[in-house]
Amino acid sequence: MDFLNALIAFANFVFIPGVAYGSQLALGALGVTLVYGILRFSNFAHGDTMAMGAMATVLITWLFQSWGISLGPLPTALLALPFGILFAIGLLLGTDRMIYKFYRVQKAKPVILVIVSLGITFIYNGLTRFVIGADDQNFFDGQRFIISAREFKASTGLPEGLSFKTTQGITIVTAIIVVAALFWFLNKTRAGKSMRAYSDNEDLALLSGINPERVVMITWIIVASLATIAGVLYGLDKSFKPFTYFQLLLPIFAAAIVGGLGNPLGAIAGGFVIAFSEVTITYAWKKVLVYLMPEPLEPSGLVQLLSTDYKFAVSFVILLIVLLFKPTGLFKGQSV
């Protein structure tokens, strides 16, 4: 019985949040890794792209809510998501046409593109704050829980409750669908194959008649979709605040690098590695241990390895360890 309780506490506080957060990070890291693979620079504006896409979705959600449209138990944001994605696609393609293209034609060094992406970060960040303000915005509606702690306790009779939020369920399901679609696209379609060819060997791809501008365009479209989905899911699960997206940049980059930059499979694995490390290291294990240990051995403190405020440090240390001992990441990525 005690073991069961410990398992439920573990699932409730570590496993489910970890999977949800990991899915969000994985989607974000996929975007970073695709830009790196095709355009060959680290896109610092990715966090703020997520914020822009999520912002558009939030605004459209509000519009739908004011019209009285809703999805019943599901959040209205899912209905607004396609429009948010369209907005993000327009935004990224416009940015590429006006800004990145110039440097691509010039064959500028990657580090220049990184600095350019910093400038774009500034602009996106400013625009987001300009339109929606710097405060927390709530856009969640619909049913809050799939399984609520109270119901769970009542139906099982266990003292430890398990709650499964709708947003967590949506996050996990959406992530699986998106990742499956992405891999199908990359492996089975002509456009996806040309993307992979371009990423592996640019010159050879050009020789075999692949149109680089088309590859770049498809990449931005996919990246915009991924970023918006990741941003909206994160916003639904936690809350929408423009500044948090900039801070997500570090765990997202850590995930992409840990998995191996340029490798989509690695980005997903990296997302979960980072998410689970963060959650396990900053979780106070007392609740779980109390059930597992015999009474005299029960811990007196919180058994929290690091305070939650140091979650950045966790992703960072993992990043550093991987970079020092396995510079191409867990899955073989690019190292230019």
Partner: protein, 445 residues
């Protein structure tokens, strides 16, 4: 136009802008812009040393600036009575223990043959070391934070209360500036040792992370910095306004300038700071110029332009990179200490990467990377814009919304959002300069 003429014109235009501030907003705003412009220029000099000379992409400036601020409280604040004996020594011991654990792990890594045995041994050392470290540290920290938490609750600094010895202006504070540089240099050494071997994008992400961690430590380790409770009342190296207002000689002189004593004293304090900052800037500028034109500077640029060739010539690329990384970071630390000194308080919650890291980058790029004079110009110009864009944006919004009816939601929203124009403008300036004048206002020779 020869180079000297052009530079004179550019700096003349900058002076003209500041003169405009004097006319529109008064001397006080103008002096504040000059003071912060000087500090910004120093930060830009530091980053220019790393990026312009050596091509190192450091986006962790915020962390070094914050460490400089830490030095200001260490030098400026008196030590909290009883804190050292309650747990201060134990905390220092715990930190030494933590460092020893890492050193032992590195030693094991180097001495043992590769394989599972080594991995396990290292893991055991690190995990055991971590638990011992926390076991020693936590109770001591609790004891320190329990000492009068509303006022102190931290270790405090090392200020021996000069005021009691009758020293009026606390010149002792000036020591904080080199110490800030030293703190930043120490951090830079650790970072450089681990992250400098990485390629440029990775170095950027590593430094970005380190800066966030430094800020997280300063926000959460209350025993060190009081965290988000802030340290206020840091002494200053210049006289206080109140002291000046009570000084009959000063009041008389103020009357001679045609100013009220209150007004004159606030301006005078700022002038004092400006003089001090200007001395530091000139000193650093002179050193940077000497470095640029020395064989060492030429070697750095050679490494920047072609690392492989420089290495083939027998240059120690890694060591030079480490050197310049430490020097540049130290300069940022000095600037950070100066800023905290002028603010008179350390507020860890206000350090934000967009303001303290990326703004400095805009300064360096706009001014002209690789040119020290350019960094100084960029520091002044961008700081001026950063401060002035807000009132300008507000004016613009008022102009745009002038036709709209009073109290409409859109009008209110637009006027409210004018505050966010800053980031937009900075991004635009950066992109425009990168596109149309990638070498900056005063290009490298």
């Amino acid at each position: 136009m020869s180079e000297t003429v052009r530079n004179t014109v550019l700096f003349g235009l900058m002076a003209f802008l500041i003169a405009g501030v004097v006319v529109v907003q008064g001397w006080n705003s103008a002096l504040l812009i000059i003071a912060m412009g000087l500090i910004s220029s120093i930060m830009a000099l530091g980053v220019n040393l790393q990026w312009g000379f050596a091509g190192l992409f450091n986006v962790g400036i915020m962390g070094f600036v914050a460490l400089g601020g830490l030095a200001a409280i260490v030098v400026g604040m008196p030590s909290t009575p009883g804190a050292m004996s309650a747990g201060g020594f134990i905390v220092l011991g715990a930190l030494a223990l933590g460092a020893a654990t890492i050193a032992l792990a590195i030693y094991t890594y180097r001495r043992m043959p590769p394989g599972w045995g080594r991995t396990v041994a290292m893991l055991v050392i690190i995990v055991a070391g971590f638990f011992i470290f926390r076991g020693v540290l936590d109770p001591a920290v609790d004891r320190i934070e329990d000492i009068n938490p509303a006022q102190t609750g931290y270790l405090g600094g090392i200020n021996p209360r000069w005021a009691e010895f009758g020293v009026d202006a606390d010149l002792f504070m000036l020591l904080a500036w080199p110490l800030g540089g030293l703190f930043a240099a120490a951090a830079a050494w650790v970072i450089g040792k681990t992250a400098l071997g990485l390629r440029s994008d990775y170095l950027a992400i590593a430094t970005l992370g380190i800066a966030e961690i430094i800020i997280a430590v300063m926000k959460n380790e209350d025993w060190l910095t009081r965290g988000v409770k802030n340290v206020i009342g840091i002494p200053r190296p210049v006289p206080y306004e109140v002291t000046l207002q009570n000084d009959p000689a000063f009041v008389e002189r103020a009357a001679g300038w045609g100013l009220s004593p209150v007004e004159a004293s606030t301006l005078w304090v700022k002038v004092c700071y400006i003089v001090l900052f200007a001395v530091v800037l000139v000193l650093l500028m002179w050193m940077s110029q000497r470095a640029l034109h020395s064989p060492w500077g030429r070697m750095l640029r050679a490494i920047r332009d072609n690392e492989t060739a420089a290495e083939a010539m027998g240059k120690d690329v890694k060591a030079r990179h480490l050197q310049v990384f430490i020097l540049g970071s130290a300069i940022c630390g000095i600037a950070g200490a100066m800023m905290t000194t002028m603010d008179g308080q350390l507020t860890p919650g206000t350090y934000q990467p967009l303001r303290f890291t990326f703004l400095v980058w805009v300064m360096v790029i706009v001014g002209g990377s690789g040119n020290n004079l350019g960094s100084v110009l960029g520091g002044f110009l961008i700081w001026f814009l950063w401060v002035q864009v807000e009132p300008m944006g507000l004016g613009l919004m008022n102009l745009i919304t002038a036709g709209m009816e009073e109290g409409s939601a859109l009008k209110e929203h637009l006027i409210e959002s004018a505050a966010h124009m800053r980031l937009l403008t900075m991004g635009l300036v950066l992109l425009l300069v990168l596109r149309f004048s990638p070498r900056g206002l005063i290009p490298e020779k």
